[in-house]
Amino acid sequence: MFTLINLVQPDTVEEAYRVLTEKKSNAILGGCAFLKMGSKRIDTGIELSKLNLNYIKEDDSHIEIGAYTTFRDLEKSPILNYYFNGVIPKSVADIIGVQFRSIVTLGASVYSKYGFSDLIPTLLTLNCEVELFKGGRIPLEEFLKSAYEKDILTKIFLKKNHRIAVYKNLRNSKSDYSILNVSVSNIDSKYIIAVGARPAVAKIAKKASEYLNHGNINEDTLEKASNIAAEELDFGDNMRGSAEYRKAMCCVLVKRALKEVLECR
């Protein structure tokens, strides 16, 4: 169990950031479902429910999702079920149960760069941008590569277009963490392949995506692209699977995802 000495519930993001950066051991309290399993000592916990960051809205060009939006809200959103082949709801729908998804927040999952995240690979293939209070609006891919710096993720942006995406995962049991997860998107025959739970945080398979973007699409090229993805990414061991197993399964899941995304055309 974590230790919490003080608590603040700021009315503005500015105030939240000020408290966050006052002391090294001050921290944002996200959903807390993962935090509770550790033994972290937090001096001042910053609870963001007064910032009204639980929303999903759209304008003419973008979908905007607040950081305090729960996975259950992502799953049920008519907007997210309509766009991108409903891939965001599909990515989170198998995470434990409805009661758990009512607690887990988008901001905590993305900001923490969790390797096991089922959402991050999908957001990568949708060219998601994140907005950080201090760091500003940057591509998610850039944020994932950046060194850790104290900041507050306030929202994410998805460009509205006719992009189609699919999500695949491999788990030991239905409600376990993914051993590996894959998302593939396609817009105007341009593909993005992302692989997560390697077990490190999700990454775009750039060479495999490029290979498909410059060639004919057939059974052989799909096979080749899935092999390139498995070769270019690095995999590791943990209690759920070995690096070797993950690499082998990467070929399978990427090929299945590519086939499925082609069928969606």
Partner: protein, 149 residues
């Protein structure tokens, strides 16, 4: 710290620790139907409704429940009893330890899903584990309760 939570339609003043989770707060307040089992947010035994939504009380900080409407099985006794009778009739209850959380999820599903299929029911109940019954009896009972063929 003192907080006010609405528990089963009653405004309730509670003393809580800052790192205390709602399951512990409710149990301290006498709501012993709230069960804690897995401590890893995956068994569903501690399910309550927060503003009508099924939620793991073992994973929600009590301070995040301030001003929210919390419903436990004590607050929906009549409806819970109706479903519990079907559970018993279908042989879907053995030790009963998981029943309060399971029943709260089923009642939430009834409120939320219109004309669910068997697949919808199974998906909705994935987060409720039962180590006794093997789930088939539970599924029969839920389908009977919801009038699903």
């Amino acid at each position: 710290m003192q907080i006010v939570i609405i528990i089963n339609n009653k405004k309730t003043l509670l003393d809580v620790e800052l790192n205390e989770f709602l399951a512990d707060t409710l149990r301290k307040h006498g709501m012993l139907s709230i069960r804690k089992a897995c401590n890893t947010s995956c068994c569903g035994l501690c399910t309550v409704w927060v503003d009508g939504k099924p939620t793991l009380s073992c994973s929600l900080l009590s301070i995040k429940a301030v001003g929210k409407n919390i419903t436990t099985i004590e607050g929906v006794q009549s409806e819970a009893e109706n479903f519990a009778k079907i559970l018993v009739a279908e042989g879907a209850e053995q030790c009963g330890f998981c029943s309060p959380g399971f029943i709260m999820t089923v009642l939430a599903m009834k409120n939320e899903l219109k004309n669910p299929t068997e697949k919808d029911i199974i998906h909705y109940l994935t987060g409720n584990l039962c180590r006794c019954t093997g789930y088939m009896g539970q599924l029969r009972a839920v389908k009977k309760y919801l009038g699903v063929n």
